[in-house]
């Protein structure tokens, strides 16, 4: 278990992790429990489907929240609010993954809830870059069907065994996977940012909300 400094323990969530570990063995790669808050578990890619089954059958997490994916690559474009005058630091391209770690650029993650226990869990799995696919959950949670279609469209991640992996949102001739970080939003590149003129310094760089009131008083003179 990762370094979760536990001021208190959370039995319900610990049990989730324990059961998962006992069912999946060392295919549970990493986990993080924030007591009283939430729990993250990362499993090996090949255990993805198995995890779903364990969650549903052994842990009675019957309620399907969502299934999604993430691209950990930092965006090469920033927010496109480029000003020739501002010297922005060069954008980093290092991949830093979130809770429960990760090894590759793409991760799928899903969240399910056990209604009687009133506890939810987020499970993650890496998606290997060379073969962008994981096993489908649609047979385990019916609701995953559409979520997987969405992910397929947005990230280009395949789902093995999915019944109908077609476009869900975008028109048929759309090219690219919009939610990948390297997909550019053209409008932001084409239109010049209106903020690129020299700017008067702020009257008050105070960091509390009262600043606004002060400024107002000043400006109203």
């Amino acid at each position: 278990m990762s370094d979760a400094p536990a001021p208190e323990t959370d039995e319900r969530r610990d049990r989730l992790v324990e059961v998962l570990r006992s069912e999946l063995g060392d295919r549970v790669v990493d986990s993080l429990v924030k007591p009283g808050d939430d729990v993250w578990v990362r499993v090996a890619t090949d255990a993805w489907q198995e995890t779903g089954r364990v969650l549903r059958d052994a842990l009675r997490c019957n309620f399907f929240d969502f299934l999604s994916a993430i691209d950990w690559l930092p965006s090469p474009f920033g927010k496109s609010e480029d000003s020739p005058l501002d010297q922005r630091p060069a954008l980093s391209t290092d991949i830093v993954t979130g809770y429960a770690g990760g090894e590759t650029r793409f991760q799928v993650f899903a969240r399910v809830t056990s209604l009687p226990e009133r506890v939810s869990i987020t499970v993650k799995a890496d998606v290997p870059l060379e073969d962008l696919a994981v096993d489908t959950w649609s047979a385990i949670y019916s609701g995953a069907n559409w979520h997987e279609r969405e992910i397929h469209e947005m990230y280009g991640i395949g789902f093995r065994g999915h019944p109908y992996l077609a476009h869900i949102y975008l028109p048929g001739d759309f090219e690219g996977h919009p939610l990948r970080k390297d997909f550019p939003l053209l409008a932001r590149h084409v239109k010049p940012w209106p903020g690129i003129v020299d700017v008067e310094p702020m009257p008050d760089e105070g960091d509390d909300a009262e600043a606004e009131g002060d400024a107002a008083a000043e400006g109203a003179e």
Partner: protein, 391 residues
């Protein structure tokens, strides 16, 4: 605006039209394909339902979405936190304020701040007002889809009062952009609470009216009872939430079961469930929900604590690194944001879990073997909002 030549335009339009043929896949030798939408009165705008029929019976029914896909999750990655807040208003456009709350709560969770109690109460009040504004329209609209025109007019009429109250506080009838990390933008104007309580009384009358006009009507019951039954376990497996889940007999309400810090636990209200799981019970549960919401608002208005509405937060908001998930019980069901932050001005990735997307994913399952008119009533009773599906 840039003028494009007609030729370009037509070429573009034709290319797009190619997409209109997806339903060809459904066409077979027998039966026929009925296309409802994208422009179709039954689909709240722009959902498209492709139903393969045998006579009037539905063999397979597939929603085609994306006509309202606006790329939220991508857009949120290039916006700052205040900008995200205003954009997410437009997901479930009927109960806009309720969209902001889980996002703000998730951000607050990452930042480790908590809004002062007065802000929490006001949030809850506005949240419930959003729920009323949303569901009261549903009450009329569903009747409208089954031909009962007058109920829709009543719904619009009484909903206006709620919107007025929302506007008086937030400045927007629809898109309040009122929630801030650490608190709220502003406080109630003078006299607001009294007005609101009057409006709540009026809405309870509206509920009674609907009860007489729609719920008690034998024709309405004949159209909805026993139609589109979704058992509880199916509902869970599809991730149905909100009234759809409760109408299937599952007693689950995030307001009660997963408290997120708002003021629901301060007042006395009931979570209604219905054992049947059919269209009628979905309608009924929602009707009760409006009633409960008016009660909640009344109680909260009475006990509103005094104090500041803003916690101390930096003027320029940067959210520390981390991941957080907060979901609330929105009018349409469970809406949650999974916010991943890298410590920037804006979020790194936001997964928006909307209720309608899951709610309507059950359509292919629930419409097998029903008649075309029932598709309409089932769709109406499942209650979705296109922005909430497509994002």
């Amino acid at each position: 605006m840039t003028a494009i030549s007609d030729r370009q335009k037509l070429a573009y339009v034709n290319a797009q039209a190619a997409d209109g043929r997806v339903n060809l896949e459904f066409e077979t030798e027998e039966g026929m394909t009925l296309n409802m939408g994208p422009q179709h009165p039954a689909t709240h705008g722009t959902l498209r339902i492709v139903a393969k029929l045998d006579g009037e019976q539905v063999i397979h029914c597939e929603p085609v979405m994306g006509y309202m896909h606006r790329g939220y999750e991508k857009l949120l990655e290039v916006r700052t936190y205040p900008q995200v807040n205003t954009l997410v208003n437009r997901i479930d456009w009927l109960g806009s304020f309720t969209n902001e709350v889980p996002f703000i709560l998730a951000s607050e969770k990452l930042m480790g701040v908590e809004a002062p109690p007065r802000a929490q109460w006001i949030r809850t009040i506005l949240f419930e007002l959003g729920r009323i504004a949303n569901i009261s329209l549903f009450l009329g609209d569903t009747a409208l889809h089954m031909g009962g025109m007058t109920a829709a007019f009543y719904a619009f009429r009484d909903r206006e009062f709620v919107l007025n109250q929302i506007e008086a506080v937030t400045g927007g009838r629809f898109h309040p952009n009122f929630d801030r990390i650490g608190g709220l933008k502003d406080d109630f104007p003078k006299g607001w609470i009294a007005d609101t309580k009057a409006v709540m009384a009026r809405l309870r009358d509206f509920c009674d009216e609907i009860e007489d006009l729609v719920v008690g009507n034998e024709i309405f019951q004949a159209r909805t009872r026993g139609i589109g039954i979704i058992p509880g376990d199916i509902a869970q497996s599809y991730g149905l939430s909100g009234a759809n889940l409760r109408a299937s007999g599952v007693d689950w309400d995030l307001r009660r079961d997963v408290p997120v810090g708002l003021a629901w636990d301060q007042c006395d209200w009931t979570v209604w469930t219905h054992p049947d799981g059919d269209s009628f019970s979905r309608y009924w549960v929602r009707l009760q929900e409006v009633r409960e919401a008016t009660k909640i608002v009344d109680q909260l208005c009475d006990g509103l604590p005094s104090g500041p509405i803003m916690a101390k937060v930096p003027r320029i908001i940067k959210v520390p690194e981390g991941e957080a998930w907060v979901a609330t019980e929105n009018p349409l069901g469970e809406m949650g944001y999974y916010v991943v932050s890298k410590g920037d001005l804006g979020p790194f990735r936001v997964k928006i879990r909307t209720a309608s997307f899951n709610n309507i994913s059950v359509i292919p399952w629930v419409t097998r073997g029903v008649y075309v008119p029932d598709v309409i009533s089932i769709l109406a009773s499942l209650y979705f909002i296109l922005g909430d599906i497509d994002r």
